[in-house]
C-alpha cells in the first residue's frame, strides 16, 4: 500500500531530476575541434560560419537533433547539429579559478586535460613501431559537402542528416 502511494511521487521526482529542460535560451559549448554553422538544419545547408572548440553559444531554437545557435544576445545565428555541442562548460585553460567557478555553477569539462597531445607524444615515444603518419593522412582527407550531395543524388539516395 505504501509503495502504491509513493509511486507517483517517486515518478515525479525522477522526471524532475532527469527530464531535459527546455533548451531554448540555454548556453552550450562547442565540443568538436571545428564546428560548422549552417544556414539550414541539415548537412547540405550552406556553411555560414565556423565555431572553435570551447566556444559558448546560446541555443535559440531546436529542431530534431539540430540547434539554431548564436552568440549570446544576438537573434540571428545558424544551425549546428546537437552532437557538436555539450551542455558542459568547456574550460580551455583550467586555472584554479575556473575550476572553482564551475564547481558551484554546473558541469565542467577540462579541455586539453587527461588524454591529450602530450600523452600521445609520450605514447609514441614508447611505441616507435607505430606509424602515426597513416592516421594523420587519414584525418587530413576531407570530403567536400557538394561531392556528398552529388553522390546521394546520383545514387537515388536522400541526405539522412537533416531535421526530418
Amino acid at each position: 500500500m505504501k509503495a502504491r502511494i509513493a509511486l507517483p511521487f517517486l515518478l515525479l521526482a525522477f522526471l524532475l531530476a532527469f527530464a531535459a529542460p527546455g533548451s531554448a535560451g540555454k548556453m552550450m559549448s562547442v565540443q568538436v575541434r571545428k564546428g560548422d554553422v549552417r544556414a539550414t538544419p541539415n548537412f547540405l545547408g550552406k556553411i555560414v560560419g565556423t565555431m572553435a572548440y570551447g566556444d559558448r553559444v546560446e541555443v535559440l531554437e531546436t529542431r530534431q537533433g539540430w540547434m539554431r545557435v548564436g552568440p549570446a544576445g544576438r537573434s540571428a545565428g545558424g544551425w549546428m547539429h546537437s552532437s557538436a555541442l555539450s551542455a558542459k562548460r568547456i574550460v580551455l585553460s583550467a586555472g584554479a579559478k575556473d575550476v572553482q567557478a564551475a564547481a558551484s555553477g554546473g558541469e565542467l569539462a577540462l579541455a586539453g586535460k587527461g588524454f591529450n597531445a602530450d600523452v600521445e607524444a609520450e605514447f609514441k615515444a614508447r611505441n616507435r613501431n607505430l606509424d602515426f603518419s597513416v592516421i594523420d593522412r587519414m584525418q587530413a582527407a576531407e570530403v567536400p559537402q557538394d561531392k556528398i550531395a552529388l553522390f546521394l543524388k546520383e545514387g537515388g539516395l536522400a541526405a539522412g542528416g537533416g531535421a526530418r
Binding site: 509503495a3 568538436v32 584554479a96 609520450e122
Partner: protein, 307 residues
C-alpha cells in the same frame, strides 16, 4: 510470492536513484584520495588541496566520462595499432569511394559530429574484418569488401561500424580501473601544472586503455548486446539514407558462407552471422521506398570491382 507491478516499479526507481547517487559519491571519494596523496607527497600546497576538495564534485563529473577530445586521442592511437597490424591498402579510388559513402552514412547517424570527424581506410588484408575506433576512425579490410555484392552491402558494413562509434562502444571497453586512475591524475591536474610524474602515470593509463580497446576489437569482440545494438542502429542509418536495410542481413548471409570456422577475423570477434540475421529479422524491416538506380551499382563496380 509475486510483488505487485507498482511495488516493483517503485523499487526499480529507488534502485536507479541510489545507483546514480552512489556513482557520484564513489568518484568524489577517488578525487579526495588523489588529493590527499598529492598533498602528502608535497606536490600541492594545503590551500591547493582545499581548493581541489571544494571543486571535487565538478571535477568528478568532468572526468566521469572521457570527453570527445580524449576519445579522439584514444582513437588515434588505437587506429595506429590497427594500421600497423594490417597495413593500409594504397588505392585512392577505393579509399575515396569508401570515404564518400562513409561520410554520407555518418551524417545520417545520431552522432554525425565527433571531435575530429569520421575517416575511413581500407586495409590490405584478405581477412574478413572491420574496426571502428573511438571518435570515428573506421577500417575495413579488402576481404570484407569482397563479401559485398553492391553499394548497399558496403553501406551496411560501414553503417555497423559507424553505429559502434555513435554508441561509444570502444570507449566503454576501457576498464573502469583506468578511469579511476586517470581521475586521480586529473584531480591533481585541475589546479596544478602537469609534472613529469603525472605525465608518465597518465601515459601508462593511456597505454593500458589502448590495450583494453585493441584486445576487444582484435581478439575478444564486443558483447552480444553491443553487436545487437550496432546492427539495429545500422539498419536505421541505412533506412534514413535510402539504402535497403535488408542489405545488412544479405551481406551477413554472404559473409557466413565465406567465414572459416576458427578464423581470427569476424568469426572470432562477432556472433555468428546466422544469429545476427535472426536478431535483425525481429526488427521487422521493410525494403527501400524506391529501387536503386543503375548508376549506384555502376559506381560500386567501378570503384570496388578489382578489390
Amino acid at each position: 510470492m509475486r510483488s505487485r507491478p507498482g511495488t516493483t516499479a517503485a523499487r526499480l526507481l529507488l534502485a536507479a536513484a541510489l545507483a546514480i547517487a552512489c556513482g557520484c559519491a564513489a568518484l568524489d571519494e577517488v578525487a579526495k584520495v588523489g588529493t590527499s596523496v598529492a598533498e602528502s607527497q608535497g606536490k600541492i600546497s594545503k590551500e591547493q588541496a582545499q581548493s581541489i576538495t571544494r571543486s571535487t564534485g565538478a571535477l568528478a563529473k568532468a572526468a566521469e566520462d572521457f570527453t570527445p577530445e580524449q576519445e579522439y586521442y584514444v582513437g588515434r592511437s588505437v587506429g595506429a595499432v590497427i594500421a600497423n597490424r594490417y597495413r593500409p591498402y594504397r588505392n585512392d579510388q577505393v579509399n575515396d569511394y569508401i570515404n564518400l559513402l562513409g561520410q554520407a552514412l555518418a551524417q545520417a547517424s545520431d552522432r554525425p559530429e565527433t571531435f575530429g570527424g569520421y575517416h575511413f581506410l581500407v586495409l590490405d588484408s584478405d581477412e574478413i574484418n572491420a574496426f571502428a575506433t573511438p571518435g570515428g576512425l573506421i577500417f575495413v579490410s579488402r576481404g570484407m569488401l569482397r563479401c559485398c555484392d553492391g553499394e548497399d552491402a558496403v553501406a551496411a558494413v560501414l553503417a555497423h561500424e559507424i553505429a559502434h562509434v555513435q554508441l561509444r562502444h570502444g570507449i566503454q571497453s576501457i576498464e573502469q580501473s583506468r578511469k579511476t586512475e586517470a581521475l586521480k591524475v586529473l584531480a591533481v591536474e585541475g589546479t596544478k601544472t602537469f609534472g613529469r610524474k603525472e605525465l608518465a602515470d597518465l601515459t601508462k593509463t593511456f597505454e593500458d586503455s589502448i590495450g583494453d580497446i585493441t584486445s576487444t576489437l582484435i581478439n575478444n569482440g564486443y558483447s552480444r548486446a553491443f553487436e545487437r545494438e550496432a546492427d539495429a542502429a545500422a539498419v536505421e542509418i541505412l533506412s534514413r539514407v535510402g539504402y535497403d536495410p535488408n542489405a545488412l542481413s544479405a551481406m551477413l548471409r554472404e559473409m557466413g558462407k565465406r567465414l572459416k570456422p576458427g578464423g581470427l577475423d569476424f568469426a572470432k570477434t562477432h556472433p555468428s552471422p546466422a544469429s545476427r540475421i535472426e536478431e535483425i529479422s525481429s526488427l521487422g524491416l521493410r525494403g527501400p521506398s524506391s529501387p536503386a538506380p543503375p548508376a549506384r551499382q555502376a559506381r560500386f563496380r567501378k570503384a570496388l570491382g578489382g578489390v
